[in-house]
Structure formats: C-alpha cells, structure tokens
Subunit: 132 residues, 2 copies
C-alpha cells in the first residue's frame, strides 16, 4: 500500500482529484474507495500487464467478497508517465474522468453517499490529492 | 493515523502543500515526515490542548528516540477551521510556512535530502496534499 487516507469525508457530489505517476515498468496499480481496507465500493485497477490482462482497466467492489468485474477498454495510461483522475459519485454511480477526458462509470453497489477510506496499491506514486 | 503516504519522493527543494481542517474540539494533531513510521525527521505537532500544553506548535525528530523539542510561539490554527501549510527543506533545515504566511524552521537533524514517508495523526482531516 503506497497511500492511505482514513477518516476523510468524500461525500456524494464531491470530486476526488488525483495526480499520480506510474513507475517505469508498472504492471498494475489500484485506487480503492470505501469504508475500510476490506470494504471497497470502488476498486479501480488499471492493468498494464497483470493477472493475465494487458492494458485494461478492471473495476470491482468488495463487500465480504469481490463482485462482478467491470472491464473498460479505454486505457489512457503509460508506464512512467504522470496522469490525472477525477472521481465523482452519487449513491447510484461512480463517474471517473480518465486522463485525456474520457469518462467511465461504475455502479455504486453500496448505495452509500459518504466514504471515509481510500488506499492506493501498486507501482504508482501519488503526487497530489484533493477532495472537494 | 488518519493519513499515510509511503514511497513518495519528497526531495530537497520540493514543496509539500497541505490543506486540512481541524475537527471541532481538536486537541492536537501531528504531521510526520521521515523514512518510516518510526524514523521521523520532522514531527510537526500543533497542540490546542494536549500534553499539558495549550496553543503551541511542538516540533521534534525521532531516530531511535525523541530529540530536543522545539517550541514555536506562533499558533495560527483554530479548532474546526481549514488551514494551509507549505513545507520545504534542504539537508540542513525544514522551512514551514504557517497559515497566514509566518515562516518557522526546524533543523533537518537527519541531514537527508529525500524522504519517502509521511503520516498524519490526530483530530484533523486532510483535504488536499501536493508534493512538487
């Protein structure tokens, strides 16, 4: 885990803006938003080359076990490059603005309108984070 | 611990800009920069009402034990209020721009020019963080 943010107030309607940089040779990383490290409403997992996948974003949720995977074909990430993400949600859907401006979404299976926990795992460095 | 950032690259000459908000009734919080959770070059610890202190910033370092405390009389923090900090350093000194613009400093007793670990403890929420 390279980054953990606990006890935040990420509420429906707010934006989480993340600037980060993948490491050279990055295989995968994930950004996880939920209630704690095991209760994850949004697992956002770009895979350059991991788990048998290449260049795909896999999203999922975990409430006592992983749910159905959502696979996003758009993959605007490069190894060793800086990127920005903007995550917004309501109690129905997470909206993620990918680098370059393409939007994707993932269902908010928890239906909650506030999340207090966020952690990042993998071959990535966080440069800036803003929740507002 | 409300916030942890591992494997960052906070290098001499860079700025760490933090926007955060103290909780109502905040007694104290600390921002800690170093090599890991136990090796802390800068322990920045505003105390509203804690450890027998009121309205003072206590700074220290920890290398197998706490060093000599540095106490800063300027205390531009309020309970329940948002604030900004800007931390910059070289291998001799940490420079901290306090809310309102007052500068303070604390010796870089480690003498190192890169730190990879940062964690925040106490009655505070991190709103944004940037290392650049």
């Amino acid at each position: 885990m390279v980054f953990t943010l606990k006890d935040m107030s990420f509420k429906a309607g707010m934006h989480m803006k993340i600037t980060a940089k993948t490491k050279p040779g990055c295989e995968a990383f994930s950004i996880n938003i939920g209630h704690d490290a095991d209760s994850i409403a949004l697992h956002f997992n770009p895979r350059f080359n991991a788990m048998g996948d290449s260049n795909v974003i896999v999203c999922n949720s975990n409430q006592g076990g992983w749910g159905a995977e959502h696979r996003e074909p758009c993959f605007p990430f490069q190894q060793g490059e800086e990127f920005k993400l903007d995550i917004n949600f309501n109690n129905d859907t997470f909206y993620i603005e990918l680098p370059g401006g393409t939007m994707m979404s993932f269902p908010n299976r928890f239906g909650d309108d506030v999340f207090k926990h966020m952690h990042v795992v993998g071959d990535v460095k966080i440069i800036s984070l803003k929740v507002k």
